[in-house]
Symmetry: C3
Amino acid sequence: MSIKYKTIFHIDENSKWKLLLTNVSNLLVAMENENFDVEVLANAEAVKYYDATQDLGADINTMKLLNEKGVKFVACNNALMANNIKKNNIIEFVNIVPAGVLELVLKQSEGFAYIKP
Amino acid sequence: MSIKYKTIFHIDENSKWKLLLTNVSNLLVAMENENFDVEVLANAEAVKYYDATQDLGADINTMKLLNEKGVKFVACNNALMANNIKKNNIIEFVNIVPAGVLELVLKQSEGFAYIKP
Amino acid sequence: MSIKYKTIFHIDENSKWKLLLTNVSNLLVAMENENFDVEVLANAEAVKYYDATQDLGADINTMKLLNEKGVKFVACNNALMANNIKKNNIIEFVNIVPAGVLELVLKQSEGFAYIKP
């Protein structure tokens, strides 16, 4: 049985998305053939990137590909409301949690490593 | 017996205080009626926000309220000295530790989750 | 037997090096006479600081001193390649790992505290 790599990436600045996606992509390559659990938790202004009504260019394809490989993308509902982003408008594979900070605490208590790009 | 949520927030940029206070407030709402241990550790220039001789506007009331609910605010003494902030001038409910980085290490070794807004 | 303080510092912005070196120096002073394992993991643009062909001023001496005291400096190979930094040109005591993010995950799974200055 292979080790299960559990990691939660935290992003709260919209300008950090390209760096974050590179980080996650590199991690998946490095963990090839390993059992993993990788989540991207966006709160504060970073949830704006989940708004599907904008043109994200190549990044949306990267996100889709990562999601197909098992990466979970999660949004903080407090942040969605604070940024006036309607749930109907967010990227379809993004999950919503009531509070992003609580998600960060819970995952770390379950043994997830924390990485803030 | 409820789970004890242990979390240390790390702040080292003065410009991140409003985001941090929103994060901590959201966490407390999400953990309502749960047993928790939440600490805010400020080092580097972020300790400037602990200087009670300035006008912090509504943020000082938010900090007081969070502290009354159990949130601990802690300052790194190395940073206080580096920023010429006198201990007599800091907010009364702020505690001081000799080295903020050691506090971050010790708390994580005690099972605290780490969050850097 | 003294406690072993295990800590990994993460840096991905070149502008944060002075702050990081101060953090690491303060941690070593605070842990004096204790058994410790401290690693600095640089990825993204932060690996540029490992390029020995530039003039780092006093910082290179700080890094050397910290390394002599046991601090490990590590570079992400993905980042070295992305920034066109040749392995022959990096500071001699810097180690290279294939993927910086995997290093962050592995160390935290071994009980290392994570600090992002």
